[in-house]
Point group: C2
Chain length 254, copies 2
């Protein structure tokens, strides 16, 4: 798998018979689905796309042109990380990622819903920092304090239980990126260990979960992408080492 992002004019690679995920390497929403597919040990192909110059065929799978989109059958897609992830959990129940209790499932969704303000503050801080207001910093920290309180109240290693579930894989892609904010000049978004001990330990525990570890990127890498996007030239292919890195097969010389 190359991490090159296909763009306008590029051909859709031939369908390989597996589930196929349309993603962008630095998109936290797409990461949600990657983590769920990894957790469920699903076999899938990935097609990365350039969101500034979208390939024409993306709209066949995702009418709004967003990622993730899942090609569940040749030529047929569904989109939206939450819709895809609930679909995957229902369609491939061998590794169940939700509680069997309807109330607990509702509570997990409420955790995600209450996290929306935190996500929104992150996006403003990272990509629209001239619009950043002090109340957004407050929203961010109040949301994270609430999340830490929930972790404490549940008393389990992960929000789902002793192993992560849908709720954990839904929040983690954002938590992973929050550590990049102090590196792009936003120290007020740091998760200071003394205040967020339980939450920081949870984040560290998530990082070593196999489904996450396979796809995790460092704060420095996220910061580099954020900075490239803010300069107006998002560097989608900064991890594409497909033809140069000794860890992957080199392209054969013609």
């Amino acid at each position: 798998m190359s991490e090159k992002h296909l763009q306008t004019g590029d051909a859709l690679p031939p369908y390989g018979g597996k589930l196929r995920l349309f993603a962008m390497r630095f998109c936290p929403y797409a990461e949600r689905t990657v983590l769920v597919m990894n957790a469920k040990n699903l076999q899938y192909d990935t097609v990365f796309v350039n969101l500034d110059h979208k390939p024409e065929w993306l709209l066949n799978y995702s009418p709004k042109g967003t990622v993730p989109a899942l090609e569940y059958e040749e030529g047929k897609g569904i989109f939206d990380s939450n819709i895809i992830n609930f679909y995957l959990d229902e369609k491939y129940p061998d590794v169940p990622l939700q509680s069997t209790d309807p109330l607990r499932r509702a509570e997990d969704k409420i955790i995600v819903e209450l996290f929306a303000g935190v996500q929104s503050a992150f996006y403003t801080a990272a990509y629209n920092s001239q619009a950043l207001q002090p109340n957004m910093v407050d929203t961010y920290h109040k949301g994270l304090e609430g999340l830490q309180d929930t972790l404490r109240a549940r008393g389990t290693k992960f929000l789902h239980g002793e192993t992560p579930g849908l709720v954990d894989y839904t929040l983690f892609p954002f938590l992973e990126r929050f550590e990049a904010l102090p590196l792009v000049g936003k120290p007020e978004f740091e998760l200071v260990k003394s205040k967020y001990e339980l939450l920081v330990n949870y984040i560290e525990a998530m990082k070593v979960v196999p489904a996450v570890k396979l796809y995790y990127l460092s704060p420095e890498t996220h910061a580099k992408f954020i900075e490239s996007r803010n300069k107006g030239d998002a560097n989608y292919n900064m991890l594409d080492t497909s033809s140069v890195c000794c860890m992957r097969p080199r392209k054969k010389k013609e």
Copy 2:
């Protein structure tokens, strides 16, 4: 049940031992849950609240102060129409409102997701009409054409099937309100029968479904509420006939 909306300073009525729904009579999101509870023949109490002067206790059930919120157990609430409705469908499965097929369930969610642009155009037209742009009128009609195409492709009386399901009860509260737009000076939002025959027939069929009929309000009534809200004094209690109407028990004279 009085349709009086409780406000800041008003006491929370005593808990009656049933499910209790916090709603606002003209809120389409709250209506989604009312319809689902009606369709499932659930016994419940309703507490209407004034959203401009919220009672203090609303936040105990809905941390963002939104409706609907559901008191599922004394003093304990969940909020958000979608979260509540999926919870109700899972918790009270006797009248199932979703397909058993994971893909069909995902497709139903996609219908709702694609409808978000239509809803948003409606809200701008109704409540923020100085911000209305021609592209929003386009978004509205493209969304409704897409919905009509889906109805045609499914070939069933309702989106869910021969009886309505979660997807129908989720969209209908908005469709019910769209007919009010021409009455408040927005003729470009009319669902012209020649163009929307299938969709209009679907809306008419929904209006006579028992779960809907019990709560349905006419376009004139919705228009009256929209106009009162735009004048800065939302007339929450315009339907409160609890002490005057001969159809309900009058208050006893002191």
